[in-house]
């Protein structure tokens, strides 16, 4: 029998129907929905006069467009309130479980799926959000879809897709001190560019990847979409199984044993071929920072921003003008105004612990606004239980309530025009954090270091 990649194994076992010269109908195990990309899908169902085919396989939360303070009060912005209320009504009408505002399980959709044990190896998972790729850290096929596709899944629990090509990205060797998985992924994107993996589904592997915690693996898979990939995945191993075990919706007893036996088969066969492969050395990676207006425009924090050479650099010129930065210059010491620690990339308990460790007993720079938005109610509760809220509060960081927040600036958490924000989120597009906002993507450590000094800082100088 032909050797298969992990991706092939999962994909092939979910194909319901093959259209000649066309896409395949893929069965979807888990579907997550949120308030922003689902209302038009429900409206579509209504106009077709049909219901949700398998409501128990869809889970909803409110995250993209919710306030991060006073979540117990009615949402002030009328449009946002209407959108969140529409989700509640739709879930009631169609029989879908909703972890809405105030629910102890509420949070960013890609944070709650894993932490509740809903996300598991071997599954197909979709959500109307591109960072659905996050879930791939558990060894499943997870990808973002558009609203018409949300409607397809609600109506039939299937989606029509063309099978993507396969790519292997290997990272080997020990990580240097102060270098996090966020740096790994920003480094890879800076090498492969934002369209480098288009049309592909990526499997990340190698000793560096295997050594990472689940939280750190999620950060990498989360940003696989920023390389243009359809999604990213990491083969499940003992770290994965240990993370899932005992979580709210994780299988138990005999069912656990049965599923575990299956999960243990989920790896790429020796000799299986990928359409494209890349390999990187962990020792080449230093803490990263972005200088431009897409996530591929990143450099090691001690290195200069690329210099503009000639006409073909129109994109670079445009980006640097937007960012108010000069080509060829080093970013260390560049003054910043905001620090945003949050988003589905870096808002998990491990991220908050790392930040708290670094800032314990210190104070943020006076001119910096430092926001920490936990990924979920559970992360928030855990942070309080561990006393992180005190450490962060004393250092001048504001710990808020969960949601997407300034990652996309849909609610009132925006970065003002022209201000610099070191952000642990995943996108530094023009205006992403608010019209005119200047985003610099970095790891939670690099972001926290910038909050303390008020400027771009090499966090390694602050670590022992």
């Amino acid at each position: 029998m032909k050797q298969k990649t992990l991706f092939d194994k999962i994909w092939d076992s979910h194909v319901v129907h093959d259209i000649e010269n066309g896409p395949q109908a893929l069965y979807i195990d888990r579907h997550f929905i949120h308030e922003v990309t689902s209302p038009q899908a429900f409206a579509g169902l209504r106009s077709r006069g049909i219901g949700v085919f398998r409501p128990e396989q869809t889970v909803a939360t409110a995250d993209h467009n919710v306030p991060t303070i006073n979540q117990h009060l009615p949402i002030k912005d009328a449009l946002s309130r209407h959108q969140v209320e529409t989700l509640t009504k739709n879930c009631e009408e169609f029989g879908i479980e909703l972890y809405g505002l105030g629910h102890p399980y509420q949070g960013i959709v890609h944070v709650i799926g894993p932490e509740l044990g809903i996300t598991r190896p071997g599954m197909t998972i979709v959500c109307g959000d591109s960072h659905t790729s996050t879930h791939g850290a558990f060894g499943n096929i997870a990808f973002g879809i558009g609203t018409s596709e949300v409607e397809q899944v609600l109506a039939t629990q299937c989606i029509l897709q063309k099978k993507p090509k396969s790519m292997k990205i290997e990272v080997n060797g020990p990580l240097k001190n102060g270098v996090l998985s966020k740096d790994i992924v920003l480094y890879i994107i800076s090498k492969l560019t934002t369209s480098g993996c288009t049309g592909h589904f990526v499997e990340f592997c190698g000793s560096t990847i295997e050594s990472l915690s689940m939280e750190a693996r999620m950060t990498i898979c989360n940003m696989s979409i920023e390389m243009g990939a359809r999604g990213g995945m990491i083969a499940p191993d003992e770290t994965t199984f240990a993370y899932i075990k005992g979580r709210e919706f994780a299988p138990e007893g005999e069912e656990w044993e049965r599923q575990l036996a299956y999960w243990q088969t989920l790896k790429t066969d020796e000799g299986a071929e990928f359409d494209t492969s890349y390999a990187f050395d962990a020792e080449d990676i230093e803490p990263m920072i972005t200088y431009g207006t897409n996530p591929g425009m990143g450099v090691g924090v001690t290195r200069p921003v690329p210099a503009v050479n000639g006409k073909e650099d129109a994109m670079l010129t445009k980006s640097l003008a937007y960012m108010g930065l000069e080509g060829g210059k080093n970013l260390l010491g560049h003054k910043i105004d905001y620090v945003f620690i949050g988003s589905c990339t870096n808002s998990r308990i491990e991220d908050l612990r790392m930040v708290a460790d670094l800032v314990r007993g210190k104070k943020k720079a006076d001119h910096v606004h430092a926001l920490i938005i936990p990924g979920s109610r559970q992360v928030e509760a855990q942070a309080r239980e561990e006393g992180l809220d005190k450490i962060l509060g004393e250092a001048g960081f504001e710990l808020r309530q969960p949601g997407c927040s300034a990652c996309l600036g849909m609610n009132e958490d925006k970065v003002p025009k022209g201000k610099y924000c070191v952000s642990t989120s995943n996108r530094n597009f023009e205006g992403r954090q608010g019209p005119g906002a200047r985003t610099m993507l970095a790891s939670p450590l690099t972001a926290a270091a910038a909050a303390l000094t008020g400027e771009i800082t090499d966090v390694r100088t602050m670590l022992n």
Binding site: S13, V16, H17, E20, N21, G22, P23, A25, Y27, V36, T37, P39, Q40, A43, I50, F53, H64, N65, D77, L79, H82, Q83, T86, G122, G128, D129, S130, G144, I145, G146, T147, S148, E149, E151, Q152, A155, T156, Q157, C158, I159, L160, T194, S195, T198, G199, G228, Q259, Y262, N294, M315, K318, L408, G409, M410, R427, F429, E430, G431, R432, P435
Partner: protein, 196 residues
């Protein structure tokens, strides 16, 4: 969904690379719960200044360039999966986007909404930009049946690829949900037979 056969139109050129969906429709406009009306905010931050006044240097505000075909640089539609981007482009009145490369999710979203993404070579794209630059009245013809795009005045054409199934859907105004619903029996037997 509206049927698509052939289209001949003048073009609106946007020669930037990596146009992401946050530019096409910024997140603050995603609060709507219907599909209509997004065209008003298409490319909002490039199109209007802080006071909501049209910026004269942006192509959509330049009456010289009109038409149902948007011509853009490489890697169009990257970033967020928001289908609102495809709705905004359609709602504004475009029926075709021409680029040398499209981001995956955008391409699917466009096709699901009767907006045809036509992927051409870098050379063809450059020829098209040049032709429009010389004469804003330059027309292109997009023939879905023949899978061909041409610039009649320049006498050049190129074929483009489209998946046979998607082509059938576009030509007939038929969508994926209609198709999947017709396969309900297969879906149910798949569910019964699976062991994991």
């Amino acid at each position: 969904m509206e049927k698509f056969k052939t289209l001949t139109s003048t073009c609106v050129p946007m020669p930037f690379q990596d146009v992401d969906t946050d530019q096409i429709i910024p997140a603050r406009f995603l609060k709507a719960t219907t599909r209509e009306g997004f065209g008003d905010n298409l490319f909002c931050d490039w199109r209007f200044d802080e006071n909501g006044e049209p910026k004269s240097d942006f192509v959509l505000n330049d009456p010289t360039y009109q038409g149902q075909v948007l011509v853009a640089g490489r890697n169009f539609g990257c970033g967020s999966s928001r289908e609102h981007a495809a709705w905004a482009i359609s709602d504004y009145g475009f029926r075709v986007v021409v680029s040398s490369f499209f981001a995956d999710i955008f391409k699917n979203n466009a096709l699901n909404n009767g907006l045809l993404p036509v992927q051409v070579s870098e050379e063809f794209l450059q020829q098209l930009f040049d032709a429009i630059g010389k004469d804003p009245e330059t027309e292109v013809t997009v023939n879905l049946e023949e899978e061909e795009i041409s610039i009649p005045s320049a006498g050049v054409s190129e074929s483009f690829e489209i998946n046979a199934y998607k082509k059938y859907c576009l030509q007939n105004g038929y969508d994926d949900i209609d198709f999947l619903i017709s396969k309900k029996d297969e879906i149910e037997s798949f569910e019964k037979e699976r062991t994991i």
